[in-house]
Symmetry: C2
Subunit: 143 residues, 2 copies
DNA sequence: TGCGTAATGTTGATATAATCAACCAACTTT
DNA sequence: AAAGTTGGTTGATTATATCAACATTACGCA
């Protein structure tokens, strides 16, 4: 059985996280991996709400609320009233957030080049497809 | 670029962790994913030391020291003097630890069957090989 | 239209995991 | 013998996660 498989997955996840952190001086900004992931979701989602982030990250809404609050505090994002639902706010990157997002993108591209080194395009695609398959297999079911 | 790739990796890692946790009633025992990983390392390593766990998990030795201490406190492992190095202790699973290890193995086999469902043996092997390749690519270098 | 339920978000409290620094004893190298 | 390194411990702090309770708003149904 592939008991080593999950250790490789853990290793990739942990090292990627550490590498991104180092690359953007996360400590200086007082943000961590989860802040970064939230920023990415806000960047790529029109009309992004906290609830959307909860769904995407599969996280407790309390936790996401705190992440959003922290991003507002360090002025990387703005929030605006939802046009239709008074409970919600629309989250967007502000100028500073967009700037950081660019830096982040450079860092992540570099890391991805490193991680995918020595792999053919076909292998990369296969790996991504299987990773998606596995992650869906592990999706918490509703029943 | 495969910016979704790392999100799949994160998803697999996080869901696996949660699933194992649930499967062995980790909260009852007061242990978490890192305890479990440490137990596995102790189980499969003759003459296991805390330092060996540090190397395997790529973790701060302070953290591993605390993990080991907690495992000693809940009486899943024993420690014995190292025959040659007074600084070290040899860690081993005791009867209770071995029992839990069996439970854990059942749980992990089940989860792995779930995660690998719908994948051919060849795909599984390819995925594991590429995962190992990627994790080595991300290994922190000494220079 | 009013009521009950669900959804969105917030806050407090607590638990798990991780990191940095300083320290001690033991081992290795010079 | 002294200096440097290693294995481990502890305190302090930070990051991440989860549970529970709550308030407000939205929705569905009788």
């Amino acid at each position: 059985m592939h008991s080593q498989l999950i250790e490789h997955i853990f290793a990739i996840s942990e090292r990627y996280r550490l590498t991104v952190r180092g690359a953007i001086n996360a400590s200086e900004l007082g943000i961590g991996a989860m802040h970064v992931r939230s920023l990415k979701i806000i960047a790529e989602t029109p009309d992004c709400t906290a609830n959307h982030i909860v769904i995407k990250l599969v996280r407790d809404k309390a936790q996401v609320a705190r992440l959003v609050k922290e991003l507002l505090n360090i002025e990387l994002i703005d929030k605006n009233a939802h046009p239709e639902d008074k409970r919600s706010q629309i989250l967007t990157l502000n100028a500073q957030g967009k700037k950081l997002m660019k830096q982040l993108q450079h860092a992540q591209e570099k890391i991805q080049r490193q991680m995918l080194q020595g792999l053919s395009a076909e292998q990369q695609q296969q790996f991504e497809d299987i990773a998606q398959h596995i992650s869906l297999n592990l999706m918490p079911s509703k029943d």
